[in-house]
């Protein structure tokens, strides 16, 4: 009996998504990514290499950041632990094609899948425990404030002008 309960519990645990939006205008205003120490405290050396070799470094900064944030959101809900350990969230297997990017984030021995949308105004990343959940999830991005609570989103991200809601 308890085995079945445990199994259904672990299945439920797997169904998690996290999302993160970066308003690129707001980010440019709030953060100086070229500030001494900034990149070292947030990114691994491999990630810093991706940033420095990109034709548009700030875009890579915020792409990697939103991958980390979206994965962290799932992890902190799963573990109920809050830590500010951005370098431990490691981005891997990043593939960028047109305005879409896919990749993985590992954190404390766990693997998360990410899919990002890169637009002129924002970068949005959706993360999940299993790739199928990314396909299944519905994302709604708005540039106005609305009372979303009754719609029961699983993940909410708000930055600058944007509100991003993710549903399963």
């Amino acid at each position: 009996m308890w085995v079945r309960q445990l199994r259904s519990l672990s299945l439920n645990l797997q169904k998690m998504i996290g999302n993160d939006i970066v308003d690129l205008l707001q980010a440019a205003k709030d953060s100086d990514w070229q500030r001494k120490g900034f990149l070292d405290k947030l990114f691994t050396s491999e990630e810093q290499f991706l940033i420095s070799s990109d034709i548009h470094p700030p875009l890579m900064v915020w792409l990697l950041w939103s991958m980390k944030e979206s994965a962290y959101k799932i992890n902190s809900r799963e573990t109920k632990l809050r830590l500010f350990a951005p370098v431990k969230l490691v981005c891997n297997n990043l593939i960028i094609h047109d305005n879409k990017a896919t990749g993985n984030v590992t954190y404390e021995g766990r693997l998360y899948y990410t899919e990002s949308e890169i637009s002129v105004n924002y970068i949005h990343t959706l993360a999940a425990d299993v790739p199928e959940e990314i396909e299944r999830a519905k994302v709604s991005i708005m540039d106005f404030h609305t009372d979303y609570k009754s719609s029961n989103p699983q993940s909410v991200s708000h930055h600058g002008r944007y509100l991003a809601l993710a549903y399963l």
Partner: protein
């Protein structure tokens, strides 16, 4: 620190329990600026392990005191 707090979110009084993200609504990307500002202001180096728990005012004070004591040694 008020630099990173949006207008209207700065309380009259900070306590040790004041949480940078939950209470002051500081964007998580700006947490690193608080860490860097603290390093510059106090002439200390905050390693990643200390930074992990620098989520509220109390933890920040504790880390600053610890690092200053290490500098004195």
């Amino acid at each position: 620190m008020a630099t990173y707090v949006e207008e209207g979110n700065m309380p009259d009084e900070l306590t040790e329990d004041t949480d940078f993200i939950k209470d002051l609504k500081i964007n998580s990307a700006n947490l690193v600026d608080i860490v860097l500002d603290t390093e510059e202001e106090f002439g200390i180096e905050i390693d990643n392990l200390s930074m992990e728990r620098m989520l509220n005012v109390g933890a920040a004070i504790e880390i600053i005191e610890l690092k200053l004591a290490e500098n004195d040694r």
